[in-house]
């Protein structure tokens, strides 16, 4: 993913434009720029504009009513709870996995990294299905769960589990290359000087990786709040109880309540924009940090 960008100060394009050796002829430049911008407009900008356009088509009144609807509020709350549980879990995991993988050499490292990446390319539909196979009434643990009156699938825990699964690699994936790049000299020095493992991590490693970590958390959070396919399979779609925001969008859409559907969708798009804003801020902060250490 967007790993390596994090610790990079954005290079000033002027450097290339003023250098005859790295400059293209004007028409090549215009072609490349034109192609890039057309691609951007067609595939990124227009869909985003369409969401807000549809959301506000019937005016602000409809927009605000749609968002303050009880079911919409319940969906927003559930989405927040889900992210609040899933993100910290994957945060702790990501740090542990990155520590083991980046700071040590061991057998089967590529294999382990691939396993960690796996949820990223597993179809969300399968991600939901596996939890039904495990915890559904006819699943492996179905009878036991039913006997103890514990509900996992078609209830909040199932939604959280599916979300944890699809966002599983995000933090680890950001941290592993970053921590590998930083090597282990600093940590080894701290250890030799008598710091225990926890002190080493807290005082030496964490300050070095904090921006990458935050970036991973933000991406993880965005995906956690936006997941549709996997959550759809395990949700049960009970209005006001087990509908997350993306599911609520689908329901509203299916009720021909297009303005409301796009209103909730616009909230998610807004979240995406805030995410991207934060990300840009983090990159800027990180590049400042790099400049200082240089």
């Amino acid at each position: 993913m967007a790993v390596a960008g994090v610790l990079h100060g954005r290079v000033d394009a002027r450097r290339f434009e003023t250098n005859a050796a790295t400059r293209e002829s004007p028409w090549v430049r215009r072609t490349i720029l034109g192609a890039a911008l057309a691609f951007f407009a067609l595939f990124l900008l227009l869909p985003l504009v369409a969401v807000f356009f549809e959301a506000l088509r019937k005016g602000w009144g409809t927009y605000l009513t749609a968002l303050s609807d009880a079911d919409a509020l319940a969906a927003i709350k559930l989405t927040l709870i889900t992210a609040l549980v899933a993100v910290p879990l994957n945060l702790v995991f990501g740090v542990a996995a990155a520590w083991a993988i980046a700071k040590f050499q061991f057998r089967g490292k590529h294999f382990l990294t691939t396993l960690i990446d796996l949820p990223f390319s597993v179809s969300p539909v399968i991600a939901g299905l596996i939890f039904v196979l495990l915890f559904g009434a006819q699943g492996w643990f179905g009878e036991w769960l039913s006997a103890h009156d514990i509900k996992i699938v078609f209830a909040v825990p199932g939604i959280v589990l599916a979300t944890v699964f699809v966002t599983f690699p995000f933090v680890a994936r950001e941290l592993i290359p970053l921590m590998e790049a930083q090597g282990r000299e600093e940590e080894e020095a701290a250890t030799v000087l008598g710091a225990n493992g926890f002190q080493t991590f807290w005082r030496v490693t964490l300050p070095n990786i904090k921006w990458g970590l935050l970036y991973g958390v933000i991406l993880c959070n965005a995906r956690a709040m936006g997941e549709f396919g996997a959550v759809s399979v395990v949700s049960g779609h009970i209005r006001g109880l087990t509908n997350t925001m993306p599911l609520h969008v689908e329901i509203l859409y299916n009720e021909y309540n297009f303005a409301a559907a796009f209103a909730v969708a616009s909230l998610l798009a807004l979240l995406a924009l805030v995410t991207l804003g934060l990300k840009t801020f983090i990159e800027w902060k990180a590049s400042q940090a790099v400049k200082e250490t240089d």
């Binding site: 790295t22 720029l33 057998r107 590529h110």
Partner: protein, 285 residues
């Protein structure tokens, strides 16, 4: 924990640092509980079929047609992203133009925008009466509800991958190489082809493979725009859903197994590519 640590046998000089046993142990337990054991359920469930039955399910004509669409459209989408992603990354690194910061930030939009929202928005845009679709319709090009629609959705979700893997390499590229090539009289195109492209290739391939892997499993955004015609515009994840709708858990898991194995192989290739990329560029990332 120590047994785990012993199995992985980290080489001696790396043992100075503490916490290997703890971190690898935690990693493995968490990985097993949340990913491996749940995924194994798919394999075990599909094992309820005999080998011949399994083969029949995963090679049924409709399913095969769906592989062709899912993998073909994903491949094409990844290729489109490789070309235009490179152009976008190139423009973002090397040119100055208004709105550059904004465009740079919005490249990650497909990561953050929920797939269902993306699907609905794309369908609204590319349908015959949508903003883009109404321009294409007179030309005889139908996007929504055709395999072309699938392609559009898959291109959308794959945009960030190529841009974000190529961009840092482009930024790190030493201008000296190009200056040397220019001073030796090389044409700009020749320099690009012989000097720059070889350096970018591993990152391009990684981005291509990531976009491909993501596209193959995509469901939420595609389902709205695909049209879902049997043999024509049905994607493989839809075949799984279709089986589930018929209470056919076993059949669904059989197709899931095929997809899982392919995903795993793909990712393994990606990780090897990344290792190669790190070596080729002399970077330790």
């Amino acid at each position: 924990m120590s047994a785990v640590a012993a199995f992985f046998n980290p080489t001696r000089q790396t043992r100075v640092l503490p916490g290997f046993g703890l971190s690898i142990g935690y990693t493995l337990v968490y990985l097993s509980l949340l990913v491996l054991i749940p995924l194994s359920a798919v394999f075990l469930k599909s094992a309820e079929l005999s080998l011949a039955q399994f083969w029949d399910v995963v090679t049924a004509p409709r399913v095969v047609a769906s592989y062709k669409l899912s993998f073909g459209a994903s491949l094409l989408a990844a290729a489109i992203n490789a070309v235009f992603g490179l152009a976008l990354a190139w423009a973002l690194v090397r040119y100055r133009f208004p709105g550059k910061k904004l465009i740079d930030a919005l490249v990650d939009l497909p990561f953050a925008l929920p797939t269902a929202v993306a699907g609905i928005a794309l369908t609204a845009l590319y349908a015959g009466n949508g903003w883009v679709g109404s321009l294409l319709e007179p030309l005889g090009i139908k996007v929504a509800f055709t395999p072309l629609g699938v392609l559009v959705a898959l291109v959308f979700i794959g945009v960030p991958f190529v841009v974000r893997t190529v961009q840092p390499i482009l930024e790190d590229l030493e201008t000296e190489l190009e200056e040397a090539a220019a001073s030796l009289g090389a044409h700009r195109w020749t320099t690009f082809r012989r000097v720059i492209l070889p350096i970018l290739t591993p990152a391009l391939l990684t981005g291509f493979a990531l976009a491909f892997a993501r596209a193959v499993g995509e469901y939420g955004s595609v389902i709205f725009i695909a049209g879902n015609m049997p043999m024509v515009s049905e994607i493989t994840p839809l075949m799984i859903i279709t089986k589930l709708e018929q209470y056919d858990y076993v059949g669904a898991t059989a197709i899931a197994v095929v997809m899982l194995v392919l995903s795993f192989v793909l990712l393994l290739v990606i990780n090897l590519l990344q290792a190669w990329s790190a070596k080729a560029t002399g970077r330790n990332r």
